[in-house]
């Protein structure tokens, strides 16, 4: 981790990419993509997250354990969202109020 020091050029490149993506996601929001607008917005946000995490937070040079910790955290957030939505998304399927 301490050994590798990235060049300024890398950081500037990442910054520009992030700014461009911000502009893109704002612009895209004004285009009617129907249900896909959420998907696009979240994908762009995910890309920006990866850029910040890998380059600015030096995840690229980090050891396996740190990567596992990050992956685990995101997976747990996924568990919270997915299993709770398994309730809200399936309400009313039985056709009986409240079930």
């Amino acid at each position: 981790m301490t050994g590798h020091i990235d060049s300024i050029k890398t950081y500037v490149g990442v910054l520009l990419a992030l700014l461009i993506l911000t502009a893109v996601t704002t612009a895209v929001a004004y285009v009617d993509l129907g249900p896909f607008s959420v998907v696009v917005a979240l994908t762009i946000a995910a890309i920006k997250m990866l850029l910040v995490a890998l380059f600015f937070m030096h995840l690229r040079h980090s050891n396996q354990l740190t990567k596992l910790v990050v992956l685990g955290g995101l997976m747990w957030l996924g568990i919270l969202l997915a299993l709770t939505l398994s309730d809200f998304a399936t309400r009313g399927w039985l056709g009986v109020p409240g079930k």
Partner: protein, 541 residues
């Protein structure tokens, strides 16, 4: 302060004196004793509330306290026991004290963070204590909305803030443990040479770190809704109270594993030492701890089967709930198999271990009842569920906690506890416990709802039995308080390894020096290799 009759050998207790040496200590051993004092206070506070509840339930009309006071009693019993005793109990005392020693480290990775964790628990405890003294809170320890945000006019905010602050104590302890286990193991201490106590605390820390923040944000949203009327869960604004239950139980079910996993770690140690045998299926027990930590996050919906959750979500959660039962079964079978062909001694900690396995088995099996959708509809929110989780919390965690306290008392204080009295109190606790909670299974299936202080007359006999059991249990819990304090002054001097155990923590003096080891330890043998210990004992003669 405690002085040993032997020539003055410096150890962590007499290394320094005075209030500052305790309140500003960075020594994980002293912080463990600070935690011990704090949680013992809350244990007896919660116990007092429980005694009042049991007395109130002696008669169907329950004339001793008003319904408002009764509601506050069971709420404060729940809050004090869950958040200020059970969750910190084993990790904060035995974990803090022995985890660094077991892996051969001088201290935890972040000693100051460890002291901060204790202060957070104390500050949180003071908030909750203030709420109790100022008038109490009557929402149940579950704080379900909209009652807790709109209809309760009791000290909800003060208690919620207390739990919010003490939650960070749990998060930071978990973080401290994970980093310590990963980064500070002595040379030779590979993962599979770690004592199973450490594996159990590793799994517990995973839950503490991944689960507790969700209850923190849930309490924050409850605070905003109650104080600023911004309604996240307010049905009048279109919010959904069931969402609160999802967020609450996402943490609170894994929290029950925060309470029981460390107990399993203690039991693994006790079973192995007192049958002088390595545990049967070491890897299976170790990985079942981690499996419990992971699976415990997938099952919380079994608390919501009748709460308005959709049927299909009920199916998903019931199915996953049966998965989390399997690792617990594996552990119980492996413990029992360890006894086979062992050399079993009946010291007090082993009695507690036997008690734990028996009662935890009953608790775990009744968990299969409440996980079955068909039966849970009838038994949820009744005394059946109360009996189920008390079998695991009291029959499991508290038995293991007492077992661990007796097992490690010589190492912590340099004094032996009185064996006779200790055995007696273990038996009294086992009998009192069963008399208190087994009748509640029957009461529950009969339909006695929980949190009732007035009940139909036909339930009275079972309630009287339960109250009788509670008084026996109370006596059982008071006895250790007495003889432990007594032993500090008059107890036999404890040798470095009174039980012939194999852990690194037994390879240093009792009580241990400030930096745990005189020379940095190296782990040379497999976990639980008793041949090395017997060799030493024979040489020492």
């Amino acid at each position: 302060m405690i002085t040993t009759a032997a020539p003055e050998r410096e150890h962590y207790l007499n290394a320094s004196y005075g209030i500052k040496s305790w309140l500003l200590t960075k020594d994980h051993k002293r912080i463990a004793l600070l935690y011990l004092a704090t949680i013992t206070f809350f244990f007896f506070l919660g116990g007092a509330f429980a005694t009042l509840i049991r007395i109130e339930l002696l008669t169907p009309t329950g004339g001793i306290v008003s319904s408002e006071t009764y509601n506050k009693l069971f709420t404060m019993h729940g809050v004090a026991m869950v958040f200020f005793f059970l969750i910190p109990a084993i990790p904060a005392t035995l974990g803090n004290f022995f985890l660094p020693m077991m892996i051969g480290a001088r201290d935890l990775a972040f000693p100051r963070l460890n002291l901060l964790s204790w202060y957070l628990l104390v500050i949180g405890g003071l908030f909750a204590l203030f709420a109790m003294l100022a008038g109490g809170v009557d929402t149940g320890w579950t704080f379900y909305t909209p009652y807790s945000t709109t209809y309760s006019n009791s000290w909800v905010i003060a208690t919620a803030l207390g739990i919010f602050i003490s939650g960070f104590s749990s998060i930071l302890t978990g973080l401290n443990f994970i980093v310590t286990i990963h980064r500070m193991r002595a040379p030779g201490m590979t993962w599979f040479r770690l004592p199973l106590f450490v594996w159990a605390h590793y799994a517990t820390s995973l839950i503490q770190v991944l689960g507790t923040p969700v209850i923190a944000v849930t309490i924050l949203l409850l605070f905003c809704e109650r104080v600023f009327h911004i309604g996240i869960f307010d049905p009048a604004l279109g919010g959904d109270p069931v969402l609160f239950q999802h967020l609450f139980w996402f943490y609170s079910h894994p929290a029950v594993y925060i309470m029981v996993l460390p107990a399993m770690g203690v039991i693994s140690e006790l079973i192995s030492v007192y049958s002088r045998k390595p545990l049967f299926g070491y890897k299976f027990i170790a990985f079942s701890s981690v499996a419990i930590a992971v699976l415990s996050f997938l099952v919380w919906g079994h608390h919501l089967f009748v709460s308005g959750q959709s049927l299909y979500a009920g199916l998903v959660f019931s199915f996953l709930s049966y998965f989390v039962a399997i690792p617990s079964a594996i552990k119980v079978f492996n413990w029992t198999a360890t006894l086979y062909k062992g050399s079993i001694s009946y010291d007090t900690p082993m009695l507690y271990a036997f008690g734990f396995i028996g009662l935890f088995t009953v608790g775990g099996l009744t968990g299969l009842f409440v996980a079955a959708l068909g039966i849970d509809v009838h038994v949820t929110d009744t005394y059946f569920v109360i009996a189920h989780f008390h079998y695991i919390m009291v029959g499991g965690t508290i038995m293991a906690y007492l077992g661990g306290m007796h097992y490690y008392w010589p190492k912590m204080t340099g004094r032996m506890y009185p064996e006779g009295w200790a055995k007696l109190s273990a038996v009294v606790i086992f009998l009192g416990f069963n008399l208190t909670f087994f009748p509640q299974f029957i009461l529950g299936y009969l339909g006695m709802p929980r949190r009732y202080h007035v009940y139909p007359e036909e339930f009275q006999v079972l309630h009287v039995l339960s109250t009788a059991g509670a008084s026996v249990l109370a006596v059982g819990y008071l006895m250790p308080m007495i003889y432990f304090v007594w032993s500090l002054r008059y107890g036999q001097l404890a040798p470095a390894n009174p039980w012939g155990a194999t852990g690194l923590e037994w390879k240093t003096a009792s009580p241990p020096p400030v930096h745990n080891f005189d020379e940095p330890p190296v782990m040379t043998h497999e976990a639980y290799d008793y041949s090395t210990v017997i060799q030493e004992e024979i040489e020492v003669g």
